[in-house]
């Protein structure tokens, strides 16, 4: 099987300007939404409480909201999570309340709303592990169950935000140094600009749709950054090789040739990775949902940016044969055009 029956080099660079304008427009839109809407940060960054509860039958979100609001913990977010029986409740940090007790009080209120009482129950799981937990009991049944809760204090949240930014900075600097060392500064700049543009676009999506930006999404974003840089690296590798081999071509032609000869690999690789991500999106459940979503956007724009943006920027920066071939002036034994040396 062969999907890519390309007869001659596709003139990508002829349309470089158009691609760059499209990129710039998406980038500007992403920045616009980031500024105007902001990211919907998870409580890992902002601090606060999250409870995930499971009802015996479909949950009434409004009723849940009223009973939690009655506790007076400030702005409460209540939404379904995964199925109609699961409800996620988010509470912001609030000065003056004993944060560590919030979860217990909210669960108590939810339980009371189902006319049950909270009891402590000690038991043994089916596997034989002892379990002690708080159970909401109403007439012998368990109308609501606490599946997960999380409390993050303000100091932790701030730290995580700082650490996240540091990690992003470290990745950018590290990759630039490596590329500058391995190739040339123009490529380093081009690769980073192209891939930061991916990162900003992913963030822009999260801002526009107000999807929750959590720590695992941050991990996905950084992983995508490393991953799409590697895409650019593959193309740059080819550009270098083409510069050595085909002396007659100018820069734009060389870049076209490099992109054309890697396009099949680019699409197959990304397709394979995307299959994995799609599988996470389908089977991973709500916890991995945004993680997989961030990866999906990152992979799609990763193809676009490495093919159309990175190489174009390198071209605008005036990448020349001398920049890359200088390192090995004696030439390549494979070079068909190698002539006499004066």
């Amino acid at each position: 099987m062969e999907f890519f029956r390309i007869k001659r080099d596709i003139p990508f660079m002829r349309h470089a300007l158009v691609f760059n304008i499209i990129s710039f427009a998406t980038f500007a839109a992403a920045v616009f939404f980031l500024v105007t809407r902001g990211l919907h940060l998870s409580i890992e960054f902002t601090g606060g409480n999250v409870l995930e509860v499971e009802y015996a039958r479909a949950a009434e979100v409004d009723k849940v909201r009223t009973s939690v609001e009655a506790l007076g913990f400030g702005e409460v977010q209540v939404q379904n999570f995964g199925t109609s029986r699961d409800v996620l409740i988010r509470l912001p940090l609030r000065e003056g309340t004993a944060q560590a007790e919030v979860v217990g009080r909210v669960f108590g209120a939810l339980c009371a709303a189902e006319s049950g009482t909270v009891q402590q129950r000690e038991g043994v799981s089916d596997e034989g592990e002892s379990i002690s937990r708080q159970v909401c009991e109403a007439a012998g049944a368990e109308p609501v169950q606490l599946k997960r809760s999380e409390f993050v204090g303000p100091q932790v949240g701030k730290e995580l935000a700082v650490d996240g930014a540091t990690a992003l900075g470290f990745v950018i600097v590290g990759i630039m140094i490596y590329l500058a060392f391995r190739f040339e500064w123009k490529f380093a700049v081009a690769a980073i600009v192209a891939n930061l543009h991916d990162v900003i676009i992913i963030l822009g999506f999260f801002a526009f749709f107000q999807w929750e930006f959590s720590l695992s999404v941050l991990a996905a974003v950084l992983a995508v950054l490393g991953y799409s840089v590697n895409e650019s690296v593959v193309i740059f590798d080819r550009i270098r090789e083409a510069f050595r081999r085909y002396r007659k071509m100018d820069s734009a032609q060389t870049i076209d040739h490099a992109i054309t000869s890697t396009i099949s690999r680019t699409i197959i690789t990304h397709g394979s990775t995307q299959m994995m991500v799609l599988s996470m999106l389908l089977f991973g459940g709500p916890t991995l949902h945004y993680f997989a979503l961030a990866l999906t956007i990152g992979i799609c724009f990763g193809i676009y940016s490495s093919v159309f943006v990175a190489a174009a920027i390198a071209m605008w920066l005036g990448v020349k044969r001398e920049d890359l071939v200088r390192a090995a002036p004696k030439g390549d034994p494979d070079d068909p055009n190698a002539g006499a040396v004066v």
Binding site: E44, E127, S132, L146, R148, A219, M276, F283, G285, T287
Partner: protein, 624 residues
């Protein structure tokens, strides 16, 4: 040209065998077990306990798979949960003759079902994070400022004794924040004080004029301060261990994180309220004298200001009490505390035991203060409360008891807090997470399904698109998964849901190397290279690219590892390991397979790598 020397095949074979061996324990699952650990700090669990447990099981006619000593606990594994519960009761009865005062904690637990020979190779199943097994996670911040203040207060007391012993007549010692100020009136005293102060190496002194007198200001030296903080953290961890032992949790994790934080993870516990009751009771204990002088009583009544060197606290009943600032003893000196009944009046009491230093101080203090009251203060989150303020009836030694105005439950409560030791510095919960057991199981299933279906889709595509080379790539990817799992099991790194996501993502990315190789080989074939040469150059040329792209991905992974915390760290560990294993499997292992298959054929006409399409050619040049 496409041949490996025998030793390269040997390395590949060994890697796969080792990988299989260490992945194996993950497939056996877990069996019910009973874990016996010490309930008292004074009692050590050692090999002598094993025969006792065995005997107890034999007497109850319960059969265990094995009974063994594992670190600080004895574990016995059973076939099913019924036997497990029977065994737990039997062991508890045999080891704890008095259920009200247990010497050992007998808890239900899970143990790997893998055979003993695997365990003896240290081949253990992967360590699952709380999000996969359910439990409670706390992150606690130790209040280091309070630890320093307390140290300064203790040093002030030491100074008073020291200067009195040396006969230095100073004009007052006070603590101001974390520094200590001594006022001296004349130069002779100043010189005497200076010599005496050299005996306290933890403090550095500076002089300042203060009216007609001289003020000596002492600050805790930075290295001493660091030591104080270090010890405070260590003591808090030990105390937490003791308190958590009371909960009877099978495998608690109590670890230092950073300079001033402690992580506590309690698998299987769903009940945060109870856990917090015990560990979150971030209490520190101090014994001080009550100021029962007329000024003190007046201050307690609210008619006079609080006297110098004293503080006002509220007793548990609501009565205000004036307590001297000077600390006689802290929780550090307390070695044991038990609830009991007094011999003559049969009322509930708390029996206390203090260490040698504490005993000496207690003796001196109590001798000088008979018929006066001594307050036991409990500090929770910076706020102090007087638990009880008994009257000192006689000279006290290493063992003494508190009696009066207590119910049995209160005596038990007090004893528990005292017994578990007190914290050197208060702690506050700054992060808390609970995960239900059903959610943990769901998360495992979801993560597992994502990996399996993703893998299947990639494998199918690769086999169809690249034919035999696709099969090799798929096998290489399977080896990658195997090695990654083996590595995670070997390192006993904690596997979390983000970690499983990282496995999936790493596999998805790892196939990139094989696609690069296969595309390169096709390209060489397209350019008209002979099959053997095409394979050789294909691998050779792709290698540089693979290295480059993996290094950039690794940079991102390392950054996540260095700066990430919590879920991000779990992701990063797996991601970085996965990149390393993928380099091995995608390049070396797949090459090994190709060499094994094609390497021997001298006159190779075609390779099975799917369609090699040539522009201009009417039909494919080489096909399977």
């Amino acid at each position: 040209m496409n041949r490996y020397p025998w030793w390269k095949y040997a390395i590949l074979a060994i890697a796969v065998v080792v990988g299989l061996l260490y992945t194996l324990p993950n497939f056996f699952g877990e069996a019910p077990a009973v874990q016996v650990s010490s309930a008292k700090a004074t009692l050590k669990v050692d090999a002598d306990l094993v025969p006792r447990v065995e005997q107890a099981l034999k007497d109850a006619a319960v059969e265990a798979d094995f009974v063994q000593l594992d670190g600080t606990s004895v574990r016995a594994r059973f076939g099913d949960t019924d036997t497990q519960i029977k065994a737990k009761d039997a062991i508890a009865q045999a080891l704890n003759p008095d259920p009200a005062d247990p010497s050992y904690i007998v808890a239900l637990n899970l143990l790997s079902r893998s055979p003993a020979w695997l365990s003896s190779l240290h081949a253990l199943p992967m360590y699952l994070g709380l999000d996969l097994r359910g439990g409670v996670h706390f992150l606690m911040q130790v209040d280091m400022k309070a630890a320093l203040t307390r140290r300064a207060e203790a040093l002030t007391g030491d100074l008073r004794t020291l200067l009195r012993d040396k006969g230095v007549r100073h004009a007052g010692i006070v603590r101001a924040g974390n520094s200590i100020e001594i006022r001296v009136r004349d130069a002779a005293t100043l010189a005497a004080a200076r010599t005496a102060l050299a005996e306290l190496p933890d403090l550095e002194w500076s002089e300042a004029a203060d009216g007609d007198a001289t003020k000596l200001v002492g600050n805790i030296k930075p290295e001493a301060a660091r030591l104080v903080q270090d010890q405070a953290l260590k003591q808090n961890i030990v105390t937490l261990h003791n308190r958590i032992n009371e909960l009877g949790v099978a495998e608690p994790v109590i670890q230092q994180q950073g300079a001033d934080r402690v992580v506590v993870q309690l698998p299987g516990v769903q009940d945060t309220a109870k856990a917090k009751d015990i560990i979150g009771r971030t209490a520190t204990l101090e014994l001080r004298l009550v100021d029962d002088s007329p000024e003190g009583l007046a201050a307690a009544a609210g008619t006079a200001p609080v006297p110098f060197g004293a503080e006002r606290y509220v007793e548990r009943g609501g009565q205000p009490l004036i307590v001297k600032r000077q600390v006689i003893l802290t929780g550090e000196n307390l070695t044991d505390a038990q609830a009991g009944f007094s011999g003559d009046t049969q009322e509930p009491v708390v029996n206390l035991t203090v260490d040698a230093k504490g005993a000496r101080i207690m003796r001196d203090t109590s001798r000088e203060n008979i018929k006066k009251r001594m307050a036991i203060l409990l500090f929770e989150k910076g706020k102090g409360e007087v638990i009880t303020a008994p009257v000192i009836q006689s000279e006290l030694g290493a063992r003494f008891q508190i009696s009066g105005r207590m119910t049995t439950a209160e005596a038990n409560d007090t004893a528990l807090l005292l017994r578990a030791g007190s914290l050197a510095a208060p702690m506050e919960i700054i992060e808390e997470r609970t995960i239900g057991p059903s959610l943990g199981a769901e998360n495992i299933a979801k993560g597992f399904n994502s990996v399996i279906w993703g893998f299947a889709a990639i494998a199918l595509f690769m086999c169809v698109y690249y034919m035999l080379f696709g099969v090799f790539s798929t096998l290489a990817l399977a080896v990658n998964l195997l090695l990654l799992m083996a590595l995670l099991s070997m390192l006993q790194a904690t596997l979390t849901l983000p970690g499983i996501a990282a496995i999936a993502l790493t596999l998805g990315m790892a196939i990139d190397a094989n696609v690069l190789i296969n595309e390169r080989v096709r390209e060489e074939l397209r350019a008209g290279a002979a099959p053997q040469a095409a394979i050789h150059t294909g691998y050779e040329r792709a290698w540089a690219t693979i290295l480059d792209s993996n290094i950039t991905t690794l940079i991102a992974g390392v950054a996540l590892l260095a700066f990430g915390s919590g879920p991000v760290r779990g992701f990063a560990v797996v991601h970085c390991l996965g990149i390393l294993t993928s380099m091995f499997s995608a390049v070396l292992f797949s090459r090994g397979l190709v060499n094994l298959w094609y390497g021997r054929q001298k006159k190779l006409k075609a390779v099975s790598i799917g369609t090699v399409w040539r522009p201009g050619a009417a039909k494919p040049a080489a096909q399977a």
